[in-house]
């Protein structure tokens, strides 16, 4: 029977979903600030990556304990969402446990749901413990782990626990009510049945508790969904497209700039005709910037990376530069990109997390220059990178931190000639001698002189 409660529910659900769509549009707009890149090749390989890395959690399993705990939360999220479908239908049409007709199937679903909900609570509790008590270094340390990233992580974990508890309150009161009335409710509830006496036996109170649990769960989900775009937890959505668009080429292959190729070919061969320069809508020549100084110089995939980052710090914890105490932290590069993107573009979130200043030190601009390079990321960080790809390898959601580091380096060298002096010396050696060291090219074959070659006797 549809009553006032259902109309309220319908309005709340519509507002919640609408608000979420509005935020997603803003994020999409921000990501599209980036350069065009076409990443549509090999759809079958891309899909298999999504199945393995995103759905299959393949790369999470490089670290066993967090992988197993994360798997509980992840599978819990997927399965419990099936119940959310039921909640939505019940909410709109005033039905109660509408999917109950499915009999054994429904019992199975509820059974698994309860087990998973309990495991989610356990996992989140352990995660809270790891963050706040044992302070796992990659989660607790690092200049980029400022007040907001830390608070954000704790909010997510507490909210997840509360949402699961709300689900249990709903189930327990339903069970107890059925017991009191001598009726039977569809489903099997291995955890809730242990707690049937926890809520007393006044039918009125039980009914209210059930409704509160039910409303709290669905309101919580709608609110949480709208919290996501402000949070690292947005990865639960972005992981899938981000893995789809991940780099399929060998990790050692860096991008080639065709504009430079044309320039060099024209230099070496005067008869070479480079293609006509790009023009914008008004017919003005597009001035090409070599490398990246700010977010709009990066490709959209690199900006998408920034919205996908979970701030788990696996990249930073395997970075040889970071391990040995240098300034570089691949995670910071990605987080800086996101912060700068939101500063420059629209704020996708309902509130502005990167301006959050309640606790501790907040984002400081490194220099007066208000750009990603220098304003957020210093050359010292960039020059510490050995391009070893450890960060790229470690990322569970296929973020390419190295490509961003390289594009920023290219700007320093190609636009500002601001490489460290010793690298400039190396460039000069290559130009003059064809080797990074100052040896004469005429000596290149000297190694053979001392060689004893049996076949030449």
């Amino acid at each position: 029977m549809i009553g006032i409660e259902n109309i309220i529910f319908l309005v709340v659900a519509a507002v919640g979903i609408g608000l979420f769509v509005w935020q997603i549009r803003k994020i999409r707009k921000n990501v599209l600030m980036g350069r065009d890149t076409v990443l549509a090749d090999n759809p079958s390989e891309r899909l298999s990556k999504v199945l393995l890395v995103a759905f299959g959690q393949q790369k999470m399993f490089k670290r066993m304990l967090p992988a197993v705990l994360h798997l509980f939360v992840y599978v819990g999220f997927l399965v419990i969402n099936i119940e959310v479908i039921e909640i939505l239908i019940d909410g709109v049409f005033g039905t109660h446990r509408i999917l109950g007709f499915a009999g054994v199937l429904y019992s199975g679903l509820m059974f698994i749901n309860e087990i998973l909900a309990a495991l989610v609570i356990v996992a989140c509790a352990v995660f809270l413990w790891r963050r706040n008590v044992t302070k796992v270094p990659r989660l607790a340390n690092g200049v980029e782990m400022r007040a907001w990233p830390k608070l954000d992580a704790n909010i997510i974990l507490v909210v997840e626990i509360v949402l699961m508890l709300a689900l249990f309150v709903f189930n327990i009161s339903d069970l107890k009510l059925a017991q009191l009335r001598g009726t039977h409710i569809a489903g099997a509830y291995p955890i809730s049945s242990l707690f049937v006496n926890a809520l007393g036996s006044d039918p009125e109170t039980l009914y209210m508790a059930g409704r509160i649990g039910w409303w709290f769960h669905i309101l919580g989900i709608l609110a949480f969904m709208n919290y996501l775009p402000s949070s690292k937890h947005f990865h639960i959505i972005m992981a899938f497209p981000n893995v789809y668009y991940s780099k399929l080429l060998p990790k050692g292959k860096f991008t080639t700039n065709p504009a430079i190729t044309h320039e060099i070919k024209a230099m070496l061969d005067p008869s070479y005709q480079p293609p006509a320069p790009e023009v914008d809508a008004e017919g003005n020549m597009v001035i090409q910037r070599f490398g990246a100084k700010d977010v709009e110089d990066l490709a959209w995939k690199q900006l998408m990376d920034a919205y996908t980052c979970t701030e788990c710090g696996r990249c930073t914890s395997v970075c040889p530069a970071n391990i040995t105490g240098k300034l570089l932290s691949p995670r910071k590069i990605v987080m800086d990109t996101r912060d700068r993107m939101e500063e420059k573009g629209e704020h996708p979130a309902i509130f502005a997390p990167n301006h959050y200043k309640e606790l501790g030190v907040e984002r400081v601009h490194v220099t007066e220059e208000n750009t990603l390079l220098r304003g957020y990321i210093t050359p010292e960080e960039l020059w510490a990178c050995t391009t070893c790809n450890a960060c790229v390898e470690s990322c569970p959601v296929n973020i390419d931190q190295l490509s961003t580091i390289m594009d920023l380096r290219r700007y320093l060298v190609l636009e500002e000639s601001a490489a460290p002096a010793s690298l400039n010396a190396m460039f000069t050696n290559i130009e003059n001698n064809g080797a990074p060291w100052a040896f004469s090219p005429a000596d290149r074959f000297n190694w053979a002189e001392e060689l004893y070659m049996p076949s030449k006797n």
Binding site: P250, T256, T261, P320, L327, A384, T386, N389, N446
Partner: protein, 261 residues
């Protein structure tokens, strides 16, 4: 190469020596060892000699795309003029650049790293490292080169070469896809490291030494000129030259085969 071309011959492979292989005193020994192996198995090979120039890898990793492309396009013109089809190199940086980055600029070759090449020779029975007792029972640990391993997924070929030596192959905690960089990639080889707690090669050497233990006469095997320099420096820094030697896998094969001491 020029001589072969003049006499109308085409080599089976071009051995790309690389700047370290041509100029670095320590790495010249690797170049010679590899050439001795090539001579030993009778492969028809050639080198570019003075016509070879830096691939441009350090320029590219340092962000100098312009200089990189200058080098690449010039090298490609030389190799295409000689109709080069197959290239073998001992340097993972040259290997990666020629294999992955030259095709965009018109250089399409079959590029093989010497670890894969040596593994093939062993599999084909052209090199019989087994039976040589030089390495029996000695502890060897292999240090993965980033540009061979993570960059190009070559983890097993160098290990299979080492396994053929009958040595006691031990793995470091961080190996294969989780291997730790020697600290020289990305043009770090040509500059001082940024300030930090310690240098990367020291961290890696400590790990290698801990893995090898105190037995002495043990080996850190590398397959990259940069890794060799960095690990050698690390071993010297730790005063362990007496106990631990750093060798390239080509040198180990040449020794086992009795081609060099």
């Amino acid at each position: 190469m020029a001589e072969m071309a003049a006499s109308g011959e085409e080599p089976e492979i071009l051995f790309w020596v690389g700047c370290a292989g041509a100029f670095d005193d320590r790495y010249k020994r690797v170049t010679r060892a590899f050439v001795q192996i090539l001579e030993h198995v009778g492969v028809k090979y050639a080198v570019l000699g003075t016509e070879e120039s830096c691939t441009g890898d350090p320029a590219k990793r340092a962000g100098n795309e312009f200089l990189f492309q200058m080098q690449a396009i010039t090298n490609i013109e030389v190799m295409n003029a000689y109709n080069v089809k197959k290239i073998v190199t001992a340097c993972p940086h040259c290997f990666n650049t020629i294999k992955n980055e030259y095709p965009d600029l018109g250089g399409n070759y079959k590029v093989i790293h010497h670890s894969t090449f040596l593994q093939q020779l062993i599999n084909e029975g052209k090199v019989h490292v087994k039976g040589g007792e030089a390495f029996q029972g000695r502890r060897i640990t292999y240090h993965d080169s980033c540009y061979l391993g993570r960059a190009n997924n070559i983890y097993e070929a160098p290990r299979e070469v080492l396994a053929a030596l009958d040595a006691d192959l031990v793995e470091m905690k961080r190996s294969r896809a989780n291997g730790l960089c020697c600290g020289a990639g990305g043009a770090q080889m040509f500059k001082e490291p940024e300030p930090g707690r310690k240098d990367i090669n020291i961290e890696r050497t400590e790990e290698a030494l801990a893995t090898l233990g105190t037995a002495g006469n043990s080996v850190i095997a590398t397959a990259c000129p940069f890794c060799m320099v960095m690990m050698n420096d690390g071993v010297k820094n730790k005063d362990q030259e007496e106990n631990v030697q750093v060798f390239d896998i080509a040198e180990l094969v040449a020794q086992a085969e009795g081609l060099s001491k």
